[in-house]
Amino acid sequence: MTAIASHANARPGLNVGAMLKEAGLTALVALALTFPLVGLRTVDVGSRLTITTRFDEVLISVLLVFVGRIGLILTREGHALPVLVVSLVVAVAAWFAPLPSEILRVITIAGAAVLAIRAVIAVRRDRSTLSQQERDRAMDRLGARVQDAAMWIGPIAVVFAIALPFMPFASRSVVDIGILILTYIMLGWGLNIVVGLAGLLDLGYVAFYAVGAYSYALLAHYFGFSFWLCLPLAGLLAAFSGLVLGFPVLRLRGDYFAIVTLGFGEIIRVVLLNWAVFTGGPNGISGIPRPSFFGIADFDRRPPEGEIAFHQLFGIAFDPMHRIIFLYYLILVLALLVNFFTMRIRKLPLGRAWEALREDDIACTSLGINRTNIKLAAFTIAAMFGGFAGSFFATRQGFISPESFTFIESAIILAIVVLGGMGSQIGVVVAALIVIGLPEAFRELAEYRMLTFGMGMVLIMVWRPRGLLAHRDPTILLHPRRSARQQQADSEAGA
């Protein structure tokens, strides 16, 4: 950030003129943007479209930007503490003050909050005597400690996840959010194989999610196949599509690879949208059968003649939650399966070759590693997991349409992987909780909840540019008794 650079040569004297000029310029940009976007509004009057103006709101927005900029400048120049106090006061005041519209209230509070966070960072930075590099190293040590702690955090998290549906606070909405987060954790872990381990930037992962979802939906629709038969089939079909897409794509590298995967992601969606006879087009497919209890019993209140329902099987009272809880456990098991697979394969030649490929593909070739096969394996395996997740999605929703598989989904999954720290399994969990959980928790904010999503992303990128938990442990040790990190720290101290 430029603020760090300018902070180094910050002078005690404050140049008010320059400050006002900078804030004024920013306000001008804000004016140019908000005038057409906020100031003019089209309204339906009867059958005609007319334009109304909202210049008061423009004025307030510009004023807010002006004041906010002054706050940022003051923070930069070393007056972070007063800025922090003022911004907090403003945030609280905006909550109660009679502002002309709800939007303004949210914007004011969000702006003040961002400014406060910025000021807190600055205050802490001024107080600490560490250099930037030392801070980075401290963060890496934290990442390493979390990685070590994963030994016991992992099992605790799993136990918590298993117990969740029976917690007193586990209402239907809590379990639903749990299912949603677990779906994204599974997708994140799947994509982590391609992006985090093999280092291939895949922007079209949602294509395989779509293939999995449509495989199940169409197989059930046309042939009446059950979920338990379709789950492996959907995985196979997605893996196959990964293989087919992979062949032409994997010869490309870096940016070119990313762009082509982006294109393939869109192609799948556009095909689903336009092949209306087969896929239902934009109307999607509805009435996708729900999963049965391993083919033994259904979760219906009144099962069809001659069949038995879940609650009858176990002799308990009917509760619609049974199905939800069953879905929750299903996705939990699927996600843990992906995690188990990845943890395991990292210690196998294939996984090590993926990581080597990410580090240096030319060196890989010189060691006799067939790059194409290795990349294809990563692509195919990740696609298969995407397919599993997709068929789960289809059976949970009961309805799918191409709308569910837009580019933004790929972007969110990728954001989870990158924010979590490339290649870190527990990082994906933390990032999924933030990226999916936060907007869900702030659902009352309605359309502003995406603001929290953006704020979370900005914060992580400022705080940890390499991702939350970007720390890698070796997959094999020669001196297992003492951890490698300890040794390295010792020798660094000795040097």
Partner: protein, 290 residues
Amino acid sequence: MTAVPGIPLLEVEHLTMRFGGLVAVNDVSFTAMERQITAIIGPNGAGKTTMFNCLTGFYSPTVGRLTLHRTGGPFLLERLEAFRISQQAGVARTFQNIRLFAHMSVLENLVVAQHNKLMKASAFTVAGLLGLPSYRKAEKQAVELARYWLDKVKLTKFADWEAGNLPYGAQRRLEIARAMCTEPVLLCLDEPAAGLNPRESGDLSELLIHIREEEKIGVLLIEHDMSVVMSISDHVVVLDYGRKISDGTPAFVKTDPTVIRAYLGEEEDEELPPEVKQDLPEVAEREEAP
């Protein structure tokens, strides 16, 4: 040119590599023998690294045949895909600008080098996923081989370090160890002594002699450090402007006038063709005239 006795390992015949109008390697032929260190020397831009890239499949030569003799039949390197040159023909290489897997540990670097062997042992990861004992045994053997080479390059202590954190000289040694872990019959080293201090290049010479004497394989060496080249090579090939200008034992090459001319230049008189020399007085006059 003097013939160097030995059993041929690599035969390079009429190797030519053109990049558009530029001829980087021009009709070079030589033979590298088994259990010998063959040094390729020459001024900067002589085409040494280009030749290496042809040998190891990174470039496909415009003209020429590269034959590697080993059990399993002669391999025509110019026809093999790049990764098969290491996998099947057993030619390993290092790079002029070190190419380690910087964020992986030293030991991991050496285990990745044994990928093909381990891949087979893990039944293309199926046996590995199931954790079958056959795979675990293979992995243990791989670690043993890695440990052997770590001892040889004096990096055992650093086995669990991130490779990128090693000092420069250690990174060079690790790259050689990694190449050796592929169990090659021919090791190609591209300027292994570059950036090393005298003590480190002494260690390097010892290591290369060990590789020749104990591992009994051929070494192809590009090097500028003449003290290393002259003390350990059995055979020296000199390139200049893409052509081979000398080929023989170190003693022969050291005294070959063409080599001295390429390295030290020649007196001005000899450089000019006779017709230019004839014109010289005329040109001088014309320049003085106005």
